[in-house]
């Protein structure tokens, strides 16, 4: 097999900002002393006058972004997911969400795949937090292609958007000419009849690998990529649940309040269906390489396969 191309979505974010910056003069990038890590340094190099380093003060950065947005600029406020959604939650809620500001939040280093830095920096709660804010759009792209598309779509969208990016290089899975990104529209990547695996972010690739392994066991798994967790593509989720009768959700996030939570909330109201929520099982993470952690927490292809297989048995 030829070498699969791998790119960290934070890299895609940084590059997309440069591309968009060339097209739109009103795009500004804010950062909190993490330009190197969030890859906004690429934008800073190209457009230093439109890159605002706020220093290590994420709460203030969110407020500054809100203020800037009222003057017609489109700010992309960037920091780690832990600080964007966690530390600055109330600023995002009150200064960005409540006034429905046209602010884009680029949250990198999300999930357990942050790796060696350990639990203090592994945001497994950010989607849950952001989901509770009325009007907040949440996008968790699965690869380089989708991350770029998400940044472009977020710019065009009028209102607050939370984008979740990873530090870990992940396989490019959407590199096909038919690929189309639309906020709020899930993508069916594989048809199947026995079970539907709904995944988001880097776990989409794990879901595809798991489906392949399940097929070898004679289990036909449908795979859906939900890149937009809010607004959730409820029609697609309900339709798949009714068609296959069983649903599995997979995410690099707590099983509380994220994709699994969103899917269960929808299905309990519209199509009650047994759901297996694969994710971080209400525990804190730990240090280790991203690959080793994804394996240990059973979020890689093999881990997802084993959990689905055991559940179906």
């Amino acid at each position: 097999m030829s070498e699969v191309k791998k790119v960290a979505t934070r890299e895609s974010y940084g590059k997309a900002l440069v591309e968009l910056g060339k097209l739109h003069e009103n795009l500004v990038v804010l950062d909190a002393d993490l330009a190197g890590a969030t890859k906004t340094g690429l934008f800073k190099k190209e457009f230093p006058e439109r890159h605002i380093d706020c220093g290590i003060a994420e709460c203030n950065m969110m407020g500054i972004a809100a203020g800037i947005s009222t003057t017609g600029k489109v700010p992309f406020a960037s920091t780690f997911a832990m600080f964007a959604a966690g530390r600055a939650f109330e600023q995002v809620r009150n200064s960005i969400g409540y006034p429905h500001m046209n602010v884009k939040i680029g949250a990198t280093h999300a999930g357990i795949s942050v790796g060696e830095d350990g639990a203090s920096h592994q945001a497994n709660e950010d989607i849950a937090l952001m989901r509770t804010i009325p009007g907040m759009v949440i996008i968790n792209p699965s690869d380089d292609i989708e991350a770029r598309a998400a940044v472009f779509a977020a710019y065009e969208y009028e209102g607050p958007v939370y984008m979740r990016f990873g530090r870990f290089a992940v396989p490019v899975i959407n590199d096909n000419p038919d690929y189309k990104f639309e906020i709020g529209k899930g993508v069916t990547l594989r048809e199947g009849t026995d079970v539907t695996i709904i995944a988001t972010g880097l776990c989409v690739n794990s879901a595809l690998e798991a489906a392949e392994k399940l097929a070898a066991d004679g289990v036909s798994a449908k795979v859906i990529n939900i890149h937009t967790i809010k607004p959730l593509d409820e029609d697609l989720v309900v339709e798949a649940a009714k068609a296959t009768g069983k649903v599995v959700t997979v995410e690099e996030h707590s099983v509380i309040g994220g994709l699994g939570g969103a899917v269960c909330e929808t299905l309990s109201a519209k199509a009650p269906t047994p759901v297996l929520r694969i994710g971080i099982q209400d525990v804190f993470g730990e240090s280790g390489s991203a690959a080793a952690l994804l394996q240990k927490y059973q979020l890689d292809g093999e881990g997802v396969y084993q959990q689905v297989k055991a559940w179906l048995a």
């Binding site: 220093g55 709460c59 600023q91 009150n94 006034p99």
Partner: protein, 279 residues
């Protein structure tokens, strides 16, 4: 406006505050009354604004960082023509545009939703930063409470503003000396306020009596001349100013007057108004 005209208007703004809070049976009269003069000065003298063109990109901006004093803000805005003064009586009621804390989506002319302390100043800094980036000449004003200075975000914003030399930014501190739990210097003292802002590279103007229009006029005139750094106007005020039983009283931070108290308050203000008319 002349000083006398401003004083008369401030008295009308105070009546609006007391009326709104009485009608709502809730709200924050103390800090609204201490800031009634600065609200009046800003909306009738200082700000380059037009109630008929509230979204003009070149207008001056005002962010009420101490959002709980919305009654004072609303009263000044109503008297300036943003909405009918009569509407002040709908404060805090279901369906009203006049939310307990300011929301920019309900009233054109409110430049930023606020209410959670410490956040307004950051938004004001963002507006000032944007103005600098575009070489715009508008100015940005934000009003903070002295208790609000206990919020760490205030100093994050101040550090950024000082570092970026945002001389189009004017931070005003309503130093009425009282917060919910008691005197600010007994709860968690923010003093010395002036030295703190100086240390964050602000030009600091101390106003001995922030309820005096001439002193406010001098302070804002000086702020306009400052180049290369933001300005902080620290004004000593009297909480509850203008209503005898509310002055310097912690109890009137967030309580509405009953009918009897309302009558006394309005009589106090009528008396002030009559005295001003004799001038």
């Amino acid at each position: 406006m002349t000083t006398l005209e401003l004083q008369k208007m401030a008295n009308e703004v105070r009546k609006g505050i007391v009326t709104a809070v009485h009608s709502a049976k809730a709200g924050h009269p103390g800090g609204s009354l201490s800031a009634a003069d600065v609200f009046t000065y800003l909306y009738f003298e200082e700000l380059n604004i037009d109630p008929k063109d509230p979204k003009n990109p070149d207008r001056d901006r005002f962010v009420l960082s101490k959002g709980h004093t919305a009654p004072g803000y609303y009263s000044a805005m109503a008297h300036r023509g943003y909405f009918p003064v009569e509407e002040l009586k709908t404060l805090r009621k279901v369906g009203s545009r006049l939310q307990g804390h300011p929301s920019m989506h309900y009233v054109d002319g409110i430049d930023m939703s606020s209410g959670s302390l410490g956040q307004g100043i950051s938004a004001a800094v963002g507006m000032a930063m944007s103005g600098k980036m575009d070489n715009k000449s508008y100015r940005v004003y934000t009003l903070l409470g002295d208790g609000e200075l206990e919020e760490g975000q205030v100093w994050e914003a101040a550090m950024f503003a000082g570092f970026r030399k945002l001389d189009n930014l004017c931070v005003i501190v309503d130093n009425n000396g009282l917060q919910i739990d008691g005197p600010v210097d007994e709860v968690c003292s923010p003093y010395p306020i002036d030295k703190k802002f100086e240390a964050f590279n602000f030009h600091v103007i101390n106003v001995a009596d922030g309820n005096d229009m001439d002193q406010l006029r001098a302070a804002f005139a000086e702020a306009r001349t400052v180049k290369g750094m933001p300005t902080a106007i620290i004004m000593k005020t009297v909480k509850g100013k203008g209503v005898s039983f509310m002055e310097n009283s912690v109890a009137w931070h967030g309580v509405a007057p009953n009918d009897e108290q309302y009558a006394v308050a309005m009589a106090d203000l009528e008396k002030v108004g009559e005295a001003l008319c004799q001038k």
